[in-house]
């Protein structure tokens, strides 16, 4: 199965159920590395269609305070990239996994080696907020070879030229719903429907929307226009706010999103 297929299947399954795919995000190493496996399983049990695992970076410049804090704590506890790869490789999970990280940890390990290692650990795609499509020339070939999808971003500011460029992309389009960094928001940019429509004209892979989706209600609204809904900061905040039972809380939280997506 190529990367493409695993991710595509996840979206197709959701589409068959007439709903958007649910894509929760967690930071590896937060609250601890030992939480990774039970958390991933809880997300799957709660109804995730695809899971984003954040590889913490010291300077996460696309992240708001909640995700910054999670990364900072994970790094302070000594979490290493190799440990994350090892833990991910050992996961028993049937939904596809993608990494979210920043370009320097990838560059530092060696682009090819990072992609190869990710692939070996069962990772299907890479989301790298500070690695724009035009800078990925080198990575593109390697990722194709290793069947790891390089997930393209689209922002409200994106040009038609960019939409044109990412037509060759695999996996899904990560659509940033607002100009800004990650973090829970009380209301979303009105224009996300229009943006999704603009993308659809050019790009054939599924379109997921993220950044700032924090309530099941918002997820339901977003799910009406997009193929997938990404929940990051809001989930990590729930984990943070439930130090005694993060696993249960995460599962319940994701479950409430899945319910919302199933309700029309």
């Amino acid at each position: 199965m190529t990367a493409n297929t695993a991710i595509r299947n996840a979206f197709e399954r959701a589409r068959h159920e007439h709903r958007a795919a649910l894509i929760p995000y967690i930071t590896a190493g937060y609250p601890s590395l030992d939480h990774l496996e039970p958390l991933v399983q809880a997300l799957e049990a709660g109804g995730a269609d695809l899971i984003e695992i954040g590889v913490p970076f010291s300077d996460p410049l696309a992240d708001g305070p909640i995700l910054q804090q999670a990364a900072t704590e994970a790094l302070a506890a000594g979490v290493k990239v190799q440990q994350i790869l090892d833990r991910v490789a050992a996961l028993r999970v049937s939904v596809p996994l993608v990494f979210l990280t920043y370009v320097n940890p990838i560059y530092r390990r060696g682009i090819e080696r990072f992609i190869e290692d990710s692939h070996r650990s069962g990772i299907q795609g890479l989301i790298v907020p500070d690695w724009p499509w035009v800078e990925m020339r080198e990575a593109a070939k390697v990722s194709k070879r290793h069947r790891v999808a390089m997930i393209p971003f689209v922002a409200p500011t994106s040009t038609d030229a960019h939409l044109h460029n990412i037509r060759s992309a695999e996996g899904f389009v990560y659509t940033v719903s607002v100009t800004g960094v990650t973090g829970a928001r009380t209301h979303l940019d009105q224009g996300v429907g229009g943006l999704v429509a603009r993308i659809r004209e050019q790009v054939k892979i599924p379109i997921a929307v993220g950044f700032g989706i924090s309530t099941p209600e918002q997820a339901r609204e977003t799910g009406k226009v997009a193929d997938g809904v990404i929940v990051g900061s809001a989930l990590v905040k729930v984990i943070r706010d439930h130090p005694d039972n993060p696993i249960e809380a995460a599962q319940a939280f994701v479950g409430s999103f899945r319910n919302a997506l199933e309700t029309k």
């Binding site: 900072t72 690695w131 724009p132 800078e135 500011t157 100009t179």
Partner: protein, 403 residues
């Protein structure tokens, strides 16, 4: 001497360094900026307005003169290019006048900037005030403390100062926060970057604005001595003052020497000697050298000088190092501090701690430079008023430790 190739290329690459590593949200803004800058660059009216401001407002050209007592002490002629004489006290304003003028031209009403020593923040706030634009400045909490004078100056100039509490609470984190602001408010906001760092076109644009230093210095030095210096020595934080003076001399038979901060000593790991370590990486929008661990996590820099306390460096410096056109050395806090005092006593000039690093290297290398019959030109990037408090505090600390 072979002519240096013209860099960056159209992708913003200096050899393998540079590029544009920012969130997709910002990519259109970088394109818009690149276009606007290219147009402005060939627009005589823009050039004229900028040069007029430099002359009539900033006080350029800055002086260049032999430091006679220092020369006598060291045994070879040393010259100082006096960027400390600029309005607001450092070279930073050459660049902010250019960028804010460009912001005005592009119809942006809101200005943001990161700052370390506070010099770039002050220079940005100054340019913004002059054009009636609103400025918000990000500054690490640590730097807010050690450069209190500059914080108050920014506020007086009408700027908002945001203390950044994340990470190491210094320039690196202030830069992260400024980028986050830009991502959020990209439509109406112009991000004024303070050094030859960041995504293309910043390293090129800041270099161009700062290269006024070297153009003046080359003309002045030839006028004064009939020839060229043998060495040009400048401190390297992000690298803008050094690039600014190096650039005009790139095709001359002149040694270009950039001085990084060795902090407590490169061997202690507590330093900011990025090029000395020469480990490539990507931070704040471009590929260059970085202080980082084996996972690519950015390592905190350490320097007594807030303006050098940065774990990255401009990509063009990485390139000059890579191709061997410039050499990079480092100087410890203590050496810089000693040079800070020496220059004040010898020449009646209190240098910025950043600039004191360049002075210290020349003192350290006196024997070798003397043997070579060197004629050294130091870029005195700024004045030390901002550092006087910190130096007093630091020296009390040393006195206690030693006592």
């Amino acid at each position: 001497m072979a002519m240096m190739k013209s860099v960056p290329d159209i992708h913003g690459r200096f050899g393998r360094f540079g590029g544009q590593y920012v969130p997709e949200t910002l990519m259109p803004a970088l394109d818009e900026l690149t276009r606007a800058y290219r147009e402005a660059k060939v627009d005589r009216a823009f050039h004229h307005e900028w040069m007029g401001l430099l002359k009539e407002y900033v006080g350029r050209p800055t002086a260049l003169r032999q430091a006679f007592r220092m020369s006598e002490q060291l045994g070879f002629p040393v010259y100082l290019k006096r960027e400390d004489l600029n309005h607001t006290g450092a070279h930073k304003i050459n660049n902010t006048m250019g960028q804010v003028l460009l912001a005005k031209r592009m119809g942006k009403h809101r200005i943001i900037a990161e700052t370390g020593a506070g010099q770039h923040g002050v220079a940005t706030a100054t340019a913004a005030a002059l054009f009636g634009l609103h400025a918000e400045i990000y500054m690490g909490e640590e730097d807010v403390k050690r450069q209190a004078l500059n914080v108050y100056r920014m506020k007086l100039l009408g700027a908002e100062v945001h203390a950044v509490h994340s990470g190491t609470r210094t320039l690196k984190d202030a830069t992260n926060e400024a980028i986050r602001d830009w991502v959020t408010n990209v439509r109406d906001t112009f991000y004024v970057i303070g050094s030859v760092v960041g995504p293309h076109p910043y390293p090129m644009m800041v270099r161009d604005f700062q290269s006024i230093i070297g153009r003046e210095a080359r003309r002045q030095f030839r006028h004064l001595t009939g020839g060229l210096p043998s060495h040009i020595v400048a401190p390297v934080g992000g690298g803008s003052n050094s690039m600014g003076i190096f650039y005009a001399f790139r095709n001359d038979p002149v040694s270009l020497v950039g001085i990084e901060a060795a902090g407590d000593g490169v061997e202690t790991g507590r330093h900011a000697a990025t090029i000395t370590m020469a480990e490539p990486g990507i931070l704040h929008g471009s590929l260059s050298y970085l202080l980082q661990d084996e996972d690519g996590q950015i390592q905190p820099a350490h320097s007594i000088s807030a303006g050098l306390d940065y774990p990255g460096v401009g990509p063009e410096h990485a390139y000059l190092h890579d191709v061997g056109r410039a050499r990079y050395e480092s100087i410890t806090d203590r050496q810089a501090l000693a040079a800070f005092h020496r220059l004040a006593e010898w020449e009646g000039i209190i240098p910025a701690l950043e600039s004191a690093h360049a002075v210290a290297w020349v003192i350290q290398e006196r024997d070798a430079l003397s043997r070579q019959g060197a004629k050294v030109l130091i870029n005195l990037s700024g004045r030390g008023d901002k550092d006087v408090d910190a130096v007093a505090t630091y020296e009390e600390g040393i006195a206690r430790d030693d006592g």
